[in-house]
Assembly symmetry: C2
Homo-oligomer: 203 residues x 2
DNA sequence: CATTAAAATGCACTCAGTGCAAACATTAAT
DNA sequence: ATTAATGTTTGCACTGAGTGCATTTTAATG
């Protein structure tokens, strides 16, 4: 019974236990990111992270299942909220426009310097880079599910599947172009719009 | 000078050294795959693989840079040949058709049972799964480069970039649909064709 | 056969990650 | 307030991947 209650009443008390847990998790992530940026990913051991965060090495693993997960954790949360927004969209809008606008809005809320830093960090670890790319594909699945929720006609499903793939792909390409761009005046958003126009041009 | 000679004369003697090295690499890969299928990925240690392959544990790392790499190795070689074929294509053909046909032809040369087995194997390791997906994205880059070689007009580049993304994406989706399909009569190729038609329908 | 360079090996080490059981804190119930 | 139940932290000992280094083995060449 208490389970059901918890599920239904999510914006609720939040006992001291949950709060502390959330805080610790956050602290680990912050400490780790700081150390990664200062001494590199491989140059930072879990022992040091645990120590700086004021927990034991063993306890670290009750918050993250691996070193890589510290970085992934931030990304996941961020995307979840975009999908939530998508679910509130009216089915009268063209899906591709809905996605494009949400992506642009989402990315404009970001600290680009931090994005660059994390991005660079990823390049220093094969496994981390792989997980980032793997993450894009997971997002594609989530996006597809969300699209199907909003635009419910079964006959559109295959097209929506492709659309999810193209949208995430366009974003990936846009971010890559931005990262490699030498012109500091071009914003991330402008690259996103370009990429979507390019898909559109062929659609 | 001997370097240049070696470079120019690649289909050449192949000394006993190179042959042996190639054979050993192959043997390790085969042994490892057999063991993975029999006892699972995590259930197979590098010690056992090395022993079965008749080498020392340390030597393993002079053939593969990680355990994951054993699996990746096979995939890379396979794709390289497809890219080679693409480079021989006439620029008069529509690029999307060229890619589609090459993919279908390539996949039809494959042992589907083995494909399924490797696929299932990947699911048992997070890192391996991540690397597979990462691999797709690397292929996308290679494919894009190859497309630019054949269809050289600079103004087509952005479209070709998107095309590379969509092609790899379509293949990914096709393979996924095939993997999840319950109908044993539908071939992998048919799924690929469906996926490409779906892209085409929107193009 | 002697020389030289590549490849294989053993050894000792670091670090990520896990299982287990004991200690500790929090919550709810009596 | 005491107790019981439950969740969290910790230490310890272990496995397994991956690396650096010094040594030995093996193949290629004059």
């Amino acid at each position: 019974m208490s389970e059901i209650h918890t599920l239904l009443a999510s914006p609720q008390p939040e006992g001291a236990r949950e709060r502390k847990r959330r805080e610790t998790r956050q602290r680990i992530a912050e400490v780790a990111l700081r150390l990664f940026l200062a001494q590199g990913y491989h140059g930072t051991t879990l022992d040091v992270i645990a120590e700086e965060a004021g927990i034991s090495r063993r306890t670290f693993f009750s918050y993250f299942k691996s070193k890589d997960d510290i970085i992934m954790f931030g990304l996941e949360a961020d995307w979840a909220s975009m999908i939530d927004d998508l679910l509130k969209t009216s089915p009268d809008v063209a899906p591709i426009n809905a996605i494009r606008d949400l992506m642009v809005r989402r990315i404009e809320r970001h600290n680009t310097a931090q994005m660059q830093a994390i991005d660079k960090l990823m390049l220093s670890s094969e496994s981390l880079l792989a997980r980032k790319q793997s993450f894009y594909i997971k997002q594609e699945q989530l996006l597809f599910s969300a699209l199907c929720e909003v635009w419910r006609q079964p006959e559109r499903r295959p097209a929506l599947r492709m659309l999810a793939m193209m949208s995430i792909g366009a974003m990936r390409i846009a971010l890559q172009a931005w990262r490699e761009s030498t012109d500091p005046n071009k914003t991330v958003s402008s690259f996103i719009l370009d990429a979507f126009n390019c898909v559109r041009a062929e659609l």
